[in-house]
């Protein structure tokens, strides 16, 4: 489903050139749950962003569902993102001016889903995430865990093929962190591909495979297939 060949990302500032991703060869199959680990600044988030098509690579190839998308322009990338990729961020990234319901509804609006259909889908996902009672609240009125559940709900409402989660538990206590991980596992079991960046070895354990990055390079890949357990 996702395959990168010699993917490289270089950040260029006035004087310094920083290589965030260095010839990454990386593959994720449909239905997999992959964790990306590594120290701060090793390029985890950059890799996730490039995979999520919200950032561009400097060179290399990137196949999404067999299509080479590395050279796509913003509009083409937006079209791939829409409905295919869901994002969960460490800092939730909810829109403060919109209610819980409206935040979750947003991707459906951009997918031009009909109003009745939207209502059904949003309610369904809120029910599932147990945030129905918070429907009319604004993000600031919620706890971190609740906010992340809203963010996850927003990521999954359009039923994307892939969910990219960038340290989804980073801002949460362990109780809420476990909750979010359980939701992700559940989604994976239902067939959604999940790629997650995390610092936490214990949360990485939830996935099938762990990819270790160091200085922009893949150093090890541990198959932690559940079938082996």
């Amino acid at each position: 489903m996702i395959k990168t060949t010699n993917l490289t990302k270089v950040y260029q500032t006035d004087e310094i050139e920083t290589t965030a991703l260095n010839n990454i060869n990386f593959q994720v199959n449909e239905g997999e749950f992959v964790s990306i680990m590594g120290p701060s600044g090793c390029g985890k988030s950059t890799l996730l962003n490039v995979i999520g098509l919200i950032d561009t690579a400097s060179s290399g190839e990137y196949y999404f569902n067999g299509i080479e998308v590395a050279k796509f322009n913003e509009r083409q990338r937006a079209n791939i993102r829409k409905g295919n990729i869901g994002f969960v961020f460490q800092s939730f990234n909810l829109i403060d001016e919109l209610t819980v319901y409206e935040n979750i509804e947003l991707p459906l609006l951009y997918l031009k889903v009909s109003a009745t259909e939207r209502k059904k889908m949003v309610n369904e996902v809120m029910e599932h995430m147990q945030i129905m009672h918070r429907k009319s609240h604004f993000p600031q009125q919620l706890s971190g865990g609740q906010q992340q559940r809203v963010a996850v709900a927003r990521a999954v409402v359009a039923k994307p093929k892939v969910i990219l989660a960038d340290e989804p538990t980073g801002n949460l206590d362990s109780k809420h962190g476990d909750e979010v991980m359980n939701i992700l596992t559940e989604l994976n079991e239902a067939g959604t591909t999940i790629i997650m960046v995390t610092h936490s070895p214990s949360y990485a354990e939830y996935s099938n495979r762990i990819v270790h990055l160091f200085d922009g390079k893949v150093v090890t890949e541990n198959m932690k297939n559940k079938f082996h357990l």
């Binding site: 962003n49 999520g52 937006a78 927003r154």
Partner: protein, 813 residues
């Protein structure tokens, strides 16, 4: 401390370059507009104030209601001034200006036609403060044939030598003696001419006839005189003097005349009101002013004052909006200053110093801009505006004061707003949050767009009206008409000249008639179907020849026009439809029309009625008009030639060559009639251009502010834009979302702008008897234009945000 403030201020200006640029550009352009318009307004307001006794000089005018028609005439009868001086101790002095003809001045073997010589009483220089370079102001205009020349005229005939006492030979009459040279009239004089001839040259100026209104009479009142009281007393002069003569003429007593609902009186108009208020406040018929009088309208002064104020307001609003919008960026500085002990008062001072500094820079740039554009603006409006940096002591202090006031206006609110931030709040506040919305900012932006939209509507209405005037069917065919304006010099050889021209195939028809399409078309009282009575009808009259109707291609409605086949036509008259209406005539052809006059009335037979055509500017409706078949007075004569559209250059060449065979002393001075027609609306055309220019500048400044504000709002919503993009928002939907607020403001602005503009423009259109409508599409167009310009402005900023990688907007936090 001050230097610290100054340092911080300068560093801030440098740090936020974009903001500084927008603010200073907007302010500078706004201030430049304000200064230019202020100079224009001050110039308009200062007319005739160069006269030492300006506040005590009044012009006498005659106001009458005859037969339901109200007229105010700026001209008075010959004995008016003299009688007022004799009868009322309040009157200290008087003088009259009159006009008789143009003169042919001889210089060596050259002859020049001088049409700018007016007659004046010897007291002229005691009333008006016009210094004489040579000659004695008290005696210069005493003796007949005494001429006081302006500097320019003196130079033309005598070069640099002193012409005092020299004689000027005049073709066909006695020579004039130069008794004085005066400085040229100041630009800001309602009246100006090339030379003044003593009134005593013409014995008729001593006439005691009260019913011919031919002189402008100015009186100088003694200090402390109440003009209203004098006006009341002056009505007795009317009864005592006009009364008996009117009775003799009309055959009825003045009491009967009044009883029939008519009135006739003398009134006073302050000298300084002549330029701006003659028509609006005194309803003085422009037609009764001297030909080259400069008149304007106080309405334009108000209009441009409003424009000046509003443009400055737009610029000041930009400043307030951007400064408050930016406040969060400076909240940290405020917090730290407060924690280390600054008082709120000191902070306010600091921010005000910043805005005054910015304002000072803007004023400086504005002055440079003004200096650059003034020459162009002067050509546009035909004035000599000047900043008077060095020759007016008040200029620099006024500019400094202006800088302080604008600085305070613009910086005052933001200063209090910024300084009121509490240190605690700053620590808690997470910058980058919030949508950047503020009720005050919204209100201010709405004001800006209200002004912009109203200005655009005004511009379009003025353009539409000027267009309408230029294309209106005037009742005759106005193209391919050539006016030979100095045809009068042909004198007795006119017929011969006409015959010569008629032989050319390029010339269809030509007619010699008195002047039209300008002020000064003479009028007179006429009686319809009787030789005396209470109800004279006021007609303008034109002297024409047989070919008038044919040349102008005016429709005949009834009867016939003058014809060579009828030798009796010298006693015939042709009138227009408006005349038929005012006479309440049902079947006028064959009836009599009597022209009331000093040397006995003259009775004519009406032989025809022509369709109304606009022989005056479209400011007024077509008035009754009578045509007489006779040779026009020489200075009023104009030869109108209808030429064929083919071979026009050859035809013009033929006319010029023929002219040169007839007249050697001066060239053929011709114009196309359409050009003469356009000249009647120069004021409107200029207003149109000036409004267009300033509307564009107003919108430019408003958009500059919008540009800054959009940048600010987008900066605030950068993260949101990123999230929405990740969730699949298209650039267009983002543009729509961001533009929504601005569009809402603009639409709200319409609600205010439309009725205001509609009201003001309809008022303006009332100045015209023939006017276009303020159609609905003008309003839509103005709104559309502003909306598009604003959206382009916002669009640029939005696209910048939309184009960035979504991840950058998240990192931004």
């Amino acid at each position: 401390m001050f230097s610290n403030y100054l340092k911080i201020a300068l560093r801030n200006l440098k740090k936020y370059k974009g903001f500084t640029l927008i603010n200073i550009t907007g302010l500078a352009v706004g201030i430049a507009c304000f200064i230019v318009l202020s100079l224009f307004i001050l110039d308009e307001l200062g007319y005739d104030s160069f006269n030492k006794n300006a506040d005590r000089i009044y012009r006498v005018y005659v106001h009458s209601v005859v037969n339901g028609i109200e007229t105010s005439n700026s001209k008075t009868a010959a004995p008016t001034g003299e009688t007022l001086l004799r009868d009322f101790p309040e009157v200290e002095n008087y003088t009259r200006i009159g006009y008789f003809e143009h003169y042919k001045f001889r210089k060596g073997d050259q002859v020049f036609r001088e049409s700018g010589i007016y007659t004046a009483d010897s007291s002229y220089f005691q009333i008006f403060s016009l210094p004489l370079l040579y000659g004695d102001a008290n005696t210069a205009l005493l003796k007949p044939n005494s001429l006081v020349m302006t500097e320019t005229l003196a130079k033309k005939y005598f070069g640099d030598e002193n012409p005092l006492g020299k004689m000027i030979q005049i073709e066909g009459r006695d020579a004039f003696q130069v008794t004085g040279v005066m400085r040229n009239y100041p630009d800001k004089s309602h009246f100006s001419c090339d030379g003044l001839l003593s009134s005593s040259t013409y014995p008729i100026t001593q006439s005691h006839y009260w019913l011919d209104l031919w002189y402008t009479t100015y009186i100088l009142l003694r200090e402390g005189t109440e003009p209203r009281e004098l006006e009341e007393k002056m009505q007795k002069t009317v009864l005592d003097n006009v009364g008996p003569q009117a009775e003799a003429l009309l055959g009825i007593r003045l009491e009967q005349f009044y009883a029939a609902g008519n009135s006739y009186g003398f009134y006073l108009q302050p000298l300084t009101s002549i330029h701006l208020r003659s028509q609006r406040d005194y309803q003085i018929d422009l037609n009764t002013e001297w030909g080259d009088i400069k008149t304007s309208d106080i309405v334009y002064v108000w209009f441009f004052s409003a424009v000046a104020f509003f443009i400055l307001l737009i610029a000041v609003i930009n400043f307030i909006n951007l400064a408050t919008a930016r406040s969060e960026n400076r909240a940290k500085e405020v917090g730290i200053r407060k924690t280390v002990g600054s008082s709120q008062f000191k902070l306010v001072g600091q921010f005000i110093i910043e805005s005054v500094l910015m304002c000072a820079i803007a004023v400086f740039i504005a002055l440079v801009l003004v200096e650059l554009v003034l020459p162009w603006f002067n050509t546009l409006i035909g004035k000599k505006l000047d900043l008077q940096f060095f020759n007016n002591l008040a200029t620099i202090p006024v500019l400094i004061l202006f800088t302080l006031v604008v600085g305070l206006l613009a910086g005052g609110y933001p200063a209090f707003y910024l300084a009121a931030v509490q240190p605690g709040q700053i620590l808690k506040a997470s910058t980058g949050r919030g949508s950047g919305k503020s009720a005050l900012r919204s209100a201010l932006v709405i004001i800006q767009f209200t002004i912009s939209i109203a200005l655009i509507i005004g511009t379009i209405v003025i353009k539409k009206q000027v267009n309408y005037i230029q294309n209106k069917d005037l009742g005759f065919k106005k193209d391919f008409l050539l006016s030979i304006n100095n045809a009068g010099v042909l004198g007795p050889r006119m017929e011969e000249f006409k015959q010569q021209l008629e032989g050319n195939p390029g010339i269809i028809s030509l007619t010699n008639g008195s002047r039209m399409f300008e002020s000064g078309i003479p009028g007179n009282g006429y009686l319809y179907d009787k030789k005396s009575g209470t109800d004279p009808v006021s007609f303008q009259y034109l002297d024409v020849d047989y070919d008038f109707l044919k040349t102008f291609q005016i429709e005949l409605r009834d009867g016939r026009f003058f014809s060579r086949d009828f030798s009796t036509d010298t006693n015939a008259v042709v009138i227009n439809e408006a005349g038929v209406k005012d006479c309440h005539a049902t079947d006028p052809v064959g009836k009599e029309l009597t022209k009331i006059g000093e040397r006995g009335s003259q009775t004519f037979t009406i032989i025809g009625v022509v369709k109304d055509f606009n022989y005056e500017s479209l400011h007024r409706e077509v008035r009754p008009l009578a045509f007489h078949l006779c040779h026009p007075r020489q200075p009023a004569s104009i030869l109108t030639v209808r030429v064929a559209s083919q071979n026009l250059p050859a035809t013009i060449k033929y006319i010029e060559e023929t002219w040169n065979r007839f007249i050697q002393t001066e060239g053929c001075y011709y114009t196309f009639l359409e050009q003469n027609l356009a000249n009647m609306y120069i004021a409107e055309q200029k207003t149109g251009i000036v409004t267009t220019v300033f509307s564009i500048l107003a919108i430019f400044i408003a958009c500059l502010g919008l540009f800054g504000l959009a940048a600010f709002v987008i900066e605030k919503r950068f993260k949101e834009i990123g999230i929405r993009k990740i969730l699949g928002a298209s650039p267009l939907s983002l543009l729509g979302m961001l533009a929504q607020d601005f569009a809402k403001w603009i639409l709200l602005a319409n609600v205010i702008a439309w009725p205001c503009a509609w009201y003001v423009m309809n008022k303006w259109l009332q100045n015209f008897a023939y006017r276009t409508e303020t159609s609905w599409w003008i309003f839509i167009l103005a709104t559309g234009l502003v909306l598009i310009i604003a959206m382009l402005t916002i669009g640029y900023q939005t696209m910048r945000a939309v184009r960035t990688n979504p991840v950058d907007s998240l990192h931004y936090e």
